[in-house]
């Protein structure tokens, strides 16, 4: 495969019940393209957590996945409230998720730590009041 494969998704921030749809789609595509299970697992976990965060914390956003010969790059971009203290947000167990969201099974405060753990690099660009862009890379 020489040309990069790209996927783009608009992630709806109003519908918690369909959250994760983009990640499920990307996983199916990577499977069809024949990527190894451990790579698919890393991309699935990292992208799912990022996608869910955009839905529950930032009112939705966009997800882009670019697959090249060397790596898979996942970019999640939202115009939500931003993250005031990234270091704190990265801690296991830290969550600002409200009761109604916790009742759905979210709010363990493990999303961002999972994204870091399952990718080879992760960069968070966030401005309070403007939004957040998270770029993650999984090496092939």
């Amino acid at each position: 495969m020489s040309d990069a494969v790209k996927f783009h998704f608009e992630v709806d921030g109003s519908d918690f019940s369909s959250a994760g749809a983009a990640s499920v789609m990307v996983k199916k595509k990577l499977r069809q393209l024949g990527y190894p299970p451990d790579i698919i697992r890393k991309v699935s976990i990292a992208m799912y957590e990022g996608e869910i965060n955009m839905v529950i914390h930032a009112n939705g956003g966009t997800a882009d996945v670019e697959v090249s010969d060397e790596e898979i790059v996942i970019t999640l971009s939202d115009r939500g409230p931003g993250i005031p203290n990234v270091e704190l947000a990265m801690q296991e167990g830290y969550s600002t998720a409200r009761e109604n969201i916790r009742n759905l099974g979210f709010g363990a405060g493990m999303g961002l730590p999972n994204m870091k753990k399952y990718t080879d690099s992760m960069k968070i660009d966030t401005v309070v009041g403007e939004g957040t862009t998270i770029t993650m890379t999984v090496k092939l």
Binding site: S18, A19, K27, I52, G105, F106, A108, G109, M110
Partner: protein
């Protein structure tokens, strides 16, 4: 061992999907981002969290089946999502603990 091999012992009722799935290993938990990193391919995932997000996590982790404990039922929209993604979901009157004990007995061949 397939899901079919355990369903009678755990008094499970099939909500959707196939009983022919082979399983190996069990994870118990309701917090989605913990399940996301701990449910491994072909695991049974025991939970009392029945919604479409559960189905998404089961799909992404390639769980063999979701077992809802304590007679928890799956809402219609989640059943629809499970059918679309080929996810097997069962419900059992047993608690998570009782399910683990039964599954351990079955897996170690000591079931009566």
């Amino acid at each position: 061992m397939t899901v079919n091999d355990i369903s009678a012992k755990i008094k499970a009722k099939l909500i959707c999907g196939s009983m022919d799935k082979e399983w190996n290993g069990v994870y118990v938990g309701d917090l989605l981002s913990r399940a996301m990193s701990h449910v491994e391919a072909d695991n049974l995932w025991i939970t009392i969290m029945p919604n479409t997000n559960t189905v998404a996590v089961a799909s992404l982790t390639e769980a063999a089946a979701v077992i809802l404990a304590e007679d928890v039922e799956l809402p219609d929209e989640a059943i629809e999502a499970a059918n679309t993604n080929g996810i097997t979901v069962l419900t059992s009157p047993l608690s998570a603990y009782e399910l683990c004990v039964s599954l351990n007995d079955l897996a170690s061949g000591s079931a009566v």
